[in-house]
């Protein structure tokens, strides 16, 4: 698995992501500046978290129009793997690679806290090292993580099994209290229909070493490395 990380001005989680990918894959990811358009040789494109273009206009709106995102769209259309985390998830929705949008958190406040995610399916290249129904901890750090899509889109996502992760209690229950940003149907992460594009709001890359406080996010990167 050869990964690459896309960099936009204002992105700030690329180093964390590089650490997680380097550990899992055994080699460092290629860092790809937003003006680049040649993604040849890369299997997995990661769009990391941060505040691309200062969140001007809407989170991810400007980044979605950048030259590299046209190349990422082509990569996805060829069946390439794409992972967008936090701002990366917002960028993927703005770029039309995933449906819906991420709205302001229902409580209006930026949330910097751990959450628990329930694995809704494990038969994907992203989640193979988890078990279906497994709950793991992940740090969240966002002001706009409230997943929204119209009812028809939500029904389609559920019907086609494209909901990857939901906010849950540590015991795996889906409750309003565990869904702190107010996301529709507690959705934290969704797949594209080919299961090769994943958008995820919390940060698994920030729990991949005991020194970080845990290794809950490591299976996601190990899954990708083994793909």
């Amino acid at each position: 698995m050869t990964p690459g990380i896309v960099l936009f001005p204002g992105i700030n989680r690329e180093r964390d992501m590089a650490i997680a990918l380097t550990r899992a894959c055994g080699h460092a990811p290629r860092m790809i500046w937003h003006t680049e358009t040649d993604l040849s040789g890369i299997d997995l494109i990661v769009v990391p978290g941060g505040f691309s273009y200062g969140d001007y206009l809407r989170c991810g709106a400007m980044a979605a129009q950048s030259p590299v995102m046209a190349a990422v769209r082509d990569h996805a259309a060829r069946g390439g793997y794409v992972l967008g985390v936090c701002n990366g998830f917002q960028i993927l929705t703005e770029a039309g690679l995933l449906p819906g949008a991420l709205l302001r958190n229902a409580g209006l406040r930026f949330i910097s806290a751990d959450c628990h995610l329930r694995v809704e399916r494990a038969d994907t290249v992203f989640a193979a090292r988890y078990q279906r129904g497994q709950v793991f901890r992940a740090p969240m750090a966002h002001g706009d993580g409230n997943y929204f899509a119209d009812e028809a889109t939500l029904d389609r996502l559920e019907g086609e099994g494209l909901v990857g992760f939901r906010y849950a209690t540590p015991g795996g229950e889906i409750t309003p209290e565990a869904n702190r940003n107010g996301s529709a149907r507690s959705i934290a992460g969704i797949y594209a229909p080919n299961l090769r594009v994943l958008g995820l709001m919390p940060h698994p890359e920030d729990l991949v070493d005991p020194l970080m406080g845990g290794e809950d996010g490591k299976p996601l990167f190990d899954s990708l490395a083994a793909a």
Binding site: L57, L103, N105, L108, F148, A149
Partner: protein
């Protein structure tokens, strides 16, 4: 010519910002404040001088970038022109 694009969250999309503004207004003692919705206004100065063509251009810009039509609706005003 100058145009104004007004972008609002669609009906049915939760607007916590508008709700917070409404609560603050009520808290300040303004009586009878009903629903408050918050949006944004973008002013464009286009080289195009024909109002119909300028409007069409602004609408294309709104669909492509200024608004996210998954969650937002927009209105283009040409200032009466």
């Amino acid at each position: 010519m100058k145009l104004t694009v007004t972008i609002m969250l669609k009906d049915g999309v939760l607007d916590p910002q508008g709700k917070a503004i409404g609560q603050a207004l009520t808290g300040l003692g303004f009586a009878g404040v009903g629903e408050v919705r918050a949006g944004k206004v973008i002013e464009l100065d286009l080289a195009e001088t024909d109002p119909a063509r300028a409007r069409a251009a602004a609408e294309a810009m709104a669909r492509k970038l200024l608004a996210n039509t998954v969650i937002e609706s927009f209105r283009v005003d040409t200032g009466g022109a």
